[in-house]
């Protein structure tokens, strides 16, 4: 009975203003992408918070596994040579 009535979950991303990224704002239920867009418009942009909406079925999102965070993200921490502040450029050289 419930499967016939259940509307799948969609994740909603809104670009608040031109020049900004789409940001994840939450989720909602809809039967298809068109309905999801309309629901997102009515739910997440009532106060002029949007110029563009993306909706993605939640099942289509692949997320990284927190238990793998160490191997995914820690190795980047000690590569400080990727940051400009690692390099000591003499003050006389003004354009770098």
């Amino acid at each position: 009975m419930h499967d016939k009535q259940a509307w799948p979950l969609y994740e909603v991303f809104v670009r608040a203003r031109g020049g900004l990224d789409h940001k994840h704002v939450g989720s909602l239920h809809a039967v298809d992408a068109r309905m999801a867009l309309e629901h997102a418009r009515d739910l997440y942009t009532r106060r002029q918070e949007g110029v563009s909406i993306w909706v993605v079925a939640s099942k289509d999102i692949t997320a990284s596994d927190p238990s793998e965070s160490e191997s995914l993200f820690e190795p980047a921490r000690d590569k400080i040579y990727r940051h400009p502040t690692f390099y000591d450029i003499p003050d006389e050289v003004k354009t770098l």
Partner: protein
Amino acid sequence: MSTALATDSSSDLFRYVLRLGDLSLILGQRLGELVGHGPALEEDLGLANIALDLVGQARLLLTYAGEIEGAGRDEDTLAFLRDHRDYFNAVLVEQPNGDFAHTIVRQVLIDAFQQELYSRTLGSNDERLAAIAAKAEKETRYHLRYSSGWLVRLGDGTEESHQRAQAALNLLWPYTVELFSADALDIQMAEAGIAPALADVQQAWSLRMNDILAEATLTHPPERPFHWYGKRGEHSEHLGYILAEMQSMSRTYPGARW
């Protein structure tokens, strides 16, 4: 108020603007009954959004009407102290919400009408009306997208939803005749370049409705004569109840400010 056409042109414009404003107001009022009772939380928000837009349109139009009349009536005096014989909405919008199919069918019929009407009022000789139409047209585009989307889902959904949608369509279709029957006031407004010719509005509306009904797999109901003249203040029994509820506070506390 006399039902005979007055010769004073500002009184004509007054009545014409009220036709538009009352249409939005009564439909907005009907939708207001539904908030919190829709088939899904997301639809409560969608219907409330439409209600909000419609009441907003009514406020602009009734305010303008009051200015045209020049007798000191504002949007609230007009909304809350007129008797049903002085309301000029087409009777389609008075019809009860019924089930969701009835609500959606009524909505599509009016949204398509307002879409064609407002888009042809953008170039009106009446600047104020053109400005109101410009704002309202964007709202109506979204309303039509929402309501026609739902009509298609209901028409082409399950056997039950199809039957309910067809039944609602058969019931409400005859009321659309009134929207397009041009009386002396409509003709006069069209000739003055203030309003579009209703024949043009009807043609566009019919084409649009054909497309929507086809996609919804619904059958065009047979044309039937109608007997209502809400545009001239002759209403169905429903308006009395609607106004009694809407106006109850103003009638109970005359002169109070809120």
